[in-house]
Symmetry: C2
Subunit: 337 residues, 2 copies
C-alpha cells in the first residue's frame, strides 16, 4: 500500500506533484474588453460562434479549449486518456457533447462554478497515483445559456441588482501530466457544502463566501502553512460582495487574512462599466486561471498560487420549494518548484 | 512515482484492490413489490416519505442510504472522509443537499444513470492510491421528480410506449476502504460518450446500449480476460429493449457474448405487470448492486461480477434543439478474492 497522502481533515498532498503542461482559455466579446485580453487564447466576436443556438456554441467553445490546451503541450486530443469536465447547464450538456466529439474517455462532474478546481484536483490525484499520464480538466459557461436557465431569459431585460454578477462566457482547460515543464499541483483541499441560508439568486457571492472561508481555513489548518505562504490566494467567483464577506470570514474564523487575496469574479471585468458586483460562471475562474494567472506563473510573477474555485449550488426547482442556496469551494496549491 | 496502474486504452487496475466494506439500498413501494424485496435495507411506504415535496424526499432517502451503508461497516458518517455522489435532478440537488446535511467533504458528479459506477470507480482510485481510507460512493433517483423534469408531469397521465422504462425510486450507497472484509474492486473501465442518433426520450435503452457494448468490449480487450471470466456481467439500466440491443452489439463487435449476462433494468421489476421495458434511473443499478447483487457476493453465490452502469445523457433542452441522446457506461470488476 502507498503512503498516506491525506493531510489533516480535508486535504491531500501529492507525492510527485503533477505538472500543468498545457492550458488554454477562450472567452466571449465582453470578457475580451477587460484588462486580460492579451492573456486569452481566443476572444470570440459574437455569442453564437457560427452555431444555431447558444448551447451549441458553448459546447464548441469547450471542445476548442480542450484541443488548444492539449496542443499547447505538444499533443493531440487522441493522446488524452481522460477528460474530467462539467458545466452549468442541466445534465452538463456542454461537457457531454464535447466529450462525444472529442471521443476521450469521460467522467462528468457537477460542482457549479467550483468545477475548474474539482476537475483539476481529480486529475492531479489520478496522475499522482499513476492511473493515467495525460488527463484533461475543463469547464465552461456561457452568459446567455446560463441566464435563461437559472434566472430569466435575457430578452426580458430584467434589471440587475447591485449584488448581481454577470455570468461569464468563458472556458478553461488544463492538461495534467506526471512530468515535463510547467507549474505543479502540490496539494488540494476538498470542500464541504456550506449553507448560511441565502435565498437570493441575484446574490451568489453571499451564498458562496462562507464555503470559500471554510475551505481556505481547512487548507491552512491541514497543511500547516502560514497564510502568507502564497504569493496570491484567489477565490472565484465571489464578486465584490462575496469577496468582502470572505475577507470578513477569515477574521471571524480566527485566520490571519492572506496578505495577497483577490477574486476571479472581481478581476475578470476589472474597470469595465455597468458590471455591478463582477463576474460569475464556471468559466470565470477557469479562464482567469488558464489565462492571466498561469501566464503570470510561467513568467515567475507568481510562484505560489492558492486557487479556490467556488460554486453556488443553486437550483430553480429547490428555490421554488423554499430551499436556500448552498455553496462549495475546493482549493488547489499550484507552485513553481 | 507509483507503478503504472493503467491497462489498455480505457481501464485501470488496482494495486491493493479496495474493499466494499459497507453497502445499503433503500427503495420505493413499487420496487418493494419486485422479487428482491428481502434484499433491500428499507422499503418506503409512500413517495413523499414525510416531506413536503418529492425532491425533499429524494434527498432524505439518499442521506439515509449513506448513513446505513456507513453504519453497516461499523462506522459513523462523521468518520467518512469524502462523499462522491450525483443524481438525475438539475444541479444534482439531491446529492448537494444530502452532502450539506451529512457535512462530509463532497465532490458532485453527473453521469446520469451511470453514476453508481462513476462514483465507485473514483472512490476505488482514491482508496487504492492512499489519498483516503473511508470514501462513500452513492446515488439515487425518484420516479416522480425525474418524470416531471425529463418527460411530463405524471399528473398528465401520458401513456408509456412499449420501449418506456419506469424510473425507479431507489438509492444505493457504498463505503470503500483499503482493507477489511467484503468484496474487492479489482479493476475499472471508463467509458466514452457514444451516440448512435437516438432522439426518443421514451427509448433510453436504445440510447445507452451502444455505450454499454463499447465499454464492455474495451474492458475485455484491456484486461485480457475472457468473457466467461465473470459469474455475471450486469448492465444497468438498459431494460428489455436495450439489453437485446447490447447482446446484439457484443456479436457485431466480434466479442464472444458473456455466458451470464443480465441487466438491472430487466431484473428490478422482474415479473411485475405493466412495466413495459423495465426500470431506469440512477437508483436502479445502484439498488440492484447495493441490494441483491452484493448480497449474493457476500454469500458466495457470485464471486466475480462485472458491474456496468449505463447513463443516457438526455437533456430536454438539447432534445428541443434537435440533438440526439448520447450514452455512457463505466464498468467495475468486483470480486471475492
Amino acid at each position: 500500500m502507498t503512503a498516506a497522502r491525506k493531510i489533516g481533515q480535508q486535504s491531500v498532498k501529492f507525492s510527485n506533484p503533477p505538472v500543468i503542461s498545457g492550458w488554454a482559455a477562450i472567452v466571449g466579446p465582453k470578457e475580451g474588453q477587460g484588462p486580460w485580453a492579451k492573456d486569452f487564447d481566443k476572444i470570440l466576436d459574437d455569442y453564437l460562434y457560427g452555431q444555431s443556438s447558444w448551447e451549441k456554441a458553448e459546447n464548441i467553445i469547450l471542445q476548442e479549449t480542450v484541443q488548444t490546451a492539449v496542443a499547447k503541450a505538444g499533443l493531440d486530443t487522441t493522446e488524452a486518456e481522460l477528460l474530467l469536465a462539467g458545466d452549468l447547464l442541466n445534465q452538463i450538456i456542454s461537457a457531454n457533447y464535447a466529450a462525444r466529439e472529442l471521443a476521450i474517455p469521460f467522467l462528468g462532474l457537477y460542482g457549479a462554478c467550483s468545477t475548474m478546481a474539482e476537475s483539476l484536483l481529480l486529475a492531479a490525484m489520478m496522475i499522482d497515483a499513476g492511473f493515467f499520464e495525460r488527463v484533461v480538466a475543463a469547464t465552461c459557461s456561457h452568459h446567455y445559456t446560463a441566464e435563461r436557465q437559472y434566472r430569466a431569459p435575457v430578452e426580458q431585460g430584467v434589471q440587475p441588482s447591485p449584488s448581481s454578477q454577470w455570468t461569464a462566457t468563458a472556458s478553461g482547460a488544463i492538461l495534467v501530466q506526471p512530468g515535463g515543464s510547467g507549474p505543479r499541483i502540490t496539494c488540494a483541499t476538498i470542500g464541504k457544502v456550506v449553507d448560511m441560508g441565502v435565498t437570493d439568486s441575484a446574490n451568489m457571492g453571499a451564498a458562496m463566501a462562507p464555503a470559500a472561508g471554510s475551505t481556505i481555513k481547512a487548507h491552512f489548518e491541514d497543511t500547516g502553512r502560514a497564510t502568507d505562504y502564497y504569493d496570491l490566494v484567489v477565490t472565484g467567483d465571489l464578486g465584490a460582495v462575496g469577496m468582502n464577506l470572505a475577507s470578513q470570514s477569515f477574521i471571524q474564523q480566527g485566520l490571519v487574512p492572506p496578505p495577497a487575496y483577490s477574486d476571479c469574479g472581481v478581476l475578470l471585468y476589472d474597470g469595465l462599466p455597468d458590471i455591478k458586483a463582477g463576474a460569475s460562471g464556471c468559466g470565470c475562474s477557469a479562464a482567469m486561471l488558464c489565462g492571466p494567472l498561469l501566464k503570470k506563473m510561467s513568467r515567475g510573477e507568481i510562484n505560489r498560487l492558492l486557487f479556490v474555485a467556488t460554486g453556488a449550488l443553486m437550483s430553480p426547482t429547490s428555490t421554488f420549494q423554499g430551499e436556500s442556496i448552498p455553496g462549495i469551494a475546493h482549493a488547489l496549491a499550484i507552485e513553481n518548484i
